[in-house]
């Protein structure tokens, strides 16, 4: 670049920019799809595609919240337990209390979001580390599941299952719609709004953010509240999908969300990461699981493969950054 030409405002084509930014994972995804579909042509059927999308809807929604937590150098380990709590609470309030659906859903959302509120309260106002606070909240929320259900299952009226199992116009599963709507909102929030810039600033250099007058407390608090609220939405979807409140629902799902973030190339040092990449990371996880099932690879091998792929993805990402820094 020459020093004396006046630069013009370049508007990169957003689609090209997206492809460029996610080139590695897109190639990986493409190769995976080619391999699986050659052996199992059924893989490419639209029914299977929507199946994959539905299977990743929860991981995706959680991942959008997790992305913001990781960008500000935090983590939210309580997401999976909040899903469990919300689904149990939802089943309980419908079956045992007898609330109508239109009331049960907002109340469950509120109950689940409360955990995010508490996480945010501690992380914004005390120097406690995110790992500890959200780990404690993970245990508390999981314990809450058992308190509500007394360790049993609570069955819900089958008509509540429409949300988790139904299709829009008989084709697109509702959870996929929910995920896409949330994706658009989260995308705008993180990459277009002032709030999103503050998130990146805090993750990049918290001292610079402080001296620039950014309200670090408020931003941190909101990030964890959003994460908790998204987990609560997942909890309601889970409850509807299996039409029961089970205390084990959502177990360890936060790790799938973390995996989606890292596959999407989020920086483990904070300050970087995009919702579009996390969505792609979730899709890769879904295709991986679906493809291996179609190829009849036993589930225990699937987990090993998943682990290796995550390790490899982060390894290459770190190496690439190291190379870029060495310049």
């Amino acid at each position: 670049m020459s020093e004396n030409t006046i630069p013009t405002r370049r508007r990169a084509n957003p689609i090209l920019a997206y492809i460029n930014h996610n080139a590695g994972i897109l190639i990986g995804l493409f190769v995976m799809c080619v391999i699986v579909s050659t052996i199992q042509p059924n893989f490419l059927s639209s029914k299977n595609m929507f199946n994959i999308m539905r299977s990743i809807s929860i991981t995706g929604i959680l991942g959008f919240g997790m992305t913001m937590c990781i960008i500000i150098n935090g983590i939210d380990l309580s997401q999976g337990s909040v899903i469990g709590f919300t689904s149990c609470f939802c089943a309980w309030i419908i079956t045992d209390v007898g609330a109508p659906f239109w009331l049960a859903i907002p109340l469950s959302l509120l109950a689940g979001s409360f955990f995010g509120f508490i996480n945010g309260m501690f992380l914004a106002n005390t120097p406690l580390p995110p790992f500890v606070v959200t780990l404690a909240m993970m245990l508390i929320a999981r314990g809450g599941c058992y308190v509500i259900t007394r360790g049993n299952m609570i069955n819900v009226d089958a008509s509540f299952g429409e949300l988790g199992n139904g299709y829009l116009m008989g084709v697109v599963p509702y959870p996929v719609i929910v995920m896409l709507v949330i994706f658009v909102i989260m995308f705008l929030l993180l990459s277009k709004s002032k709030f999103g810039r503050n998130v990146y600033a805090i993750g990049g250099n918290i001292e610079a953010a402080r001296f620039s007058g950014i309200n670090i407390r408020r931003t941190t608090w909101i990030v964890y509240m959003v994460s908790g609220c998204l987990a609560a939405i997942c909890g309601i979807i889970s409850c509807s999908r299996i039409t029961t409140g089970q205390p084990t629902t959502g177990n360890a799902l936060e790790f799938d969300a973390v995996a989606a973030c890292y596959l999407g190339g989020i920086s483990y040092m904070g300050g970087e990461g995009r919702q579009g990449s996390t969505l792609l990371g979730a899709i890769v996880l879904g295709v991986l699981a679906n493809g291996m099932s179609m190829l009849q690879i036993p589930w225990y091998v699937q987990n090993i493969t998943k682990g290796i792929i995550i390790l490899a993805a982060v390894f290459f990402d770190v190496m690439r950054k190291k190379k870029a820094n060495a310049r």
Binding site: E3, K194, Y200, A201, F211, I214
Partner: protein, 498 residues
């Protein structure tokens, strides 16, 4: 309205045990570039922190224009138009130039979405105004050079309507061409009526851009004058010329023959440094901040990436690739920051002292407790470490005793060469004397000591010979007979001409 931009009268600041600033008078005229000069620890940083609202003075008054003001927070300082470019850059490296300039004040468009176009356009104009015409505001800050990042910070200050810009050693990590650009930019800011307080150790730069110089020495005002009138010799005398108190012990032993030499030490911050060390010698390394005095040793021991031409120890050529090699060869480094690098504070004295030789004390999973206790006991007595028990945590020791624990830790390895980086920083006068005595006792045993220090009296009174560095280069060696403050300072600060 007078033409005074900023004036301080009788500023005094005390920290527990130290008077950092005493009765400082200092005035800067509007649109002037004013250099603040002084040795390390002269009080420049404290003064800046007071002007920028980080510290509150214990006495004295600050005037902006002719108004007496109290600058009690960073926000207040900014409201008065004072802004500081610190040595460590405070940019978010993951974000674009434009985002950094408007950090925390993002211009909003519809729906509180950030107005990218407005931000880009305003940044463009700011970059233009300081001569960075070719830079795209959408570029990420991490892709910029340090010099360019500094310019971005300056842009940020300008976007806040800064009237007084304080620059704390902005040229310390810049290459020569970048320094030129920065100085040009300072001149153009001066034309726009911005007042600049410029802190630098490099006289050449000061004489190229500044109008006036004020010198601080040991927290006191030492003199002021315009660049055109102030003679080089006067300046050097203002910076030094303190009277020594009788705090140094008597030297009993003499140094022997050369037993160690290193040549062609090179790294990012060090250019072709070579030196020799004699048996039982206290060899000084002096230089102002950023001269690379610690970096020479770091490169020698393989801590920083770099190359060393040739190392000879006792007539044999050796290679040192890492600190482990150095310890094996009998070279120990007591680093600059004893809390960060020298001691494991949460552990006991006992644990810390025997850490370097613990492999020898543990046989088959069993610690030889008796030998361990003997070693700890004898070294602690020899160094007079004052503590109730060797089982107490080093965290609870005084600074002087912590430093002794660091010495003890390295003495148990039986080094031939001991490198001490600022061994008396932050400890009181009595403890300093103790350390000085110990240094003489250690060289009395035939160990060669390399003393890296920014304290002039220490260097003059303790050392047999002193190597002086400036900007990573060796500028001279001063022998015992010629050790004077003036000699050393002249080498450390360099001449005025190009």
């Amino acid at each position: 309205m007078s033409d005074s931009a900023l004036r301080v009268e009788g500023i005094r600041k005390e920290f527990p045990g130290v008077v950092a600033l005493d009765d400082i008078h200092f005035e800067v005229k509007r649109g002037e570039v004013h250099a603040l000069l002084g040795e390390n620890g002269a009080g420049k940083s404290t003064l800046i922190k007071i002007l920028s609202g980080i510290y509150q003075p214990d006495a004295g008054r600050i005037f902006i224009g002719d108004e007496p003001v109290s600058v009690d927070s960073v926000q207040v300082a900014r409201a008065y138009g004072i802004s500081v470019i610190h040595q460590e850059l405070s940019l978010a490296r993951n974000m674009s130039i434009a985002e950094n300039i408007f950090l925390g004040r993002f211009p909003a468009g519809r729906l509180s979405f950030v107005d990218e176009d407005a931000m880009w356009e305003k940044s463009r104009r700011l970059l233009d105004s300081i001569g960075l015409v070719g830079l795209d505001p959408a570029m990420r800050v991490s892709n910029l050079s340090v010099a360019q990042q500094q310019m971005i910070e300056i842009c940020r200050s300008l976007s806040e309507n800064t009237k007084i810009l304080i620059m704390d050693e902005p040229t310390a990590s810049l290459a020569a061409a970048e320094v030129d650009t920065l100085l040009d930019m300072m001149r153009s800011l001066r034309k726009q009526g911005v007042t600049i307080i410029f802190i630098s150790h490099k006289l050449r730069e000061i004489y190229r851009v500044c109008d006036k110089i004020t010198v601080l020495r040991d927290g006191k005002f030492a003199g002021t004058g315009s660049v055109s009138e102030l003679q080089y010799d006067d300046l050097i005398n203002m910076m030094v010329g303190r009277d020594f108190k009788d705090t140094f012990p008597e030297r009993k032993s003499q140094s022997g023959e050369v037993f160690f030499s290193a040549s062609g030490i090179r790294s990012k911050r060090v250019h072709e440094v070579s030196f020799e060390l004699r048996k039982g010698e206290v060899l000084g390394f002096y230089g102002l901040m950023g001269s690379g005095r610690s970096e020479v040793m770091r490169a020698l021991l393989g801590i920083d990436a770099g190359t060393v031409g040739n190392i000879t120890l006792n007539g044999k050529q050796i290679a040192i690739r890492s600190p482990i090699d150095a310890i094996k060869a009998g070279i120990a480094l007591a680093p600059e920051d004893r809390k960060l690098e020298g001691l494991i504070l949460k552990q006991t004295i006992d644990f810390n002292i025997t850490l370097p030789i613990i492999g020898r004390l543990i046989k088959w999973l069993r610690l030889d407790q008796k030998l361990n206790d003997e070693i700890v006991d004898s070294i602690s007595k020899r160094l007079r470490i004052k503590t109730a028990s060797y089982e107490s945590k080093t965290l609870n020791l005084s600074g002087g005793n912590q430093q002794k624990a660091v010495l003890a830790k390295w003495l148990v390895t039986d080094p031939q060469i001991l490198i001490l980086d600022e061994p008396t920083r932050g400890i009181d006068v009595g403890a300093k004397q103790e350390i000085y005595k110990l240094i003489y006792e250690i060289v009395g045993m035939g160990v060669g000591i390399i003393l890296i220090s920014s304290e002039m009296p220490e260097v003059i009174n303790l050392c047999d010979r002193v190597y002086v560095l400036r900007e990573g280069r060796l500028t001279g060696v001063v022998d015992r007979t010629e050790l004077t403050e003036q000699n050393i300072m002249a080498l450390a600060i360099g001449g005025i001409g190009a």
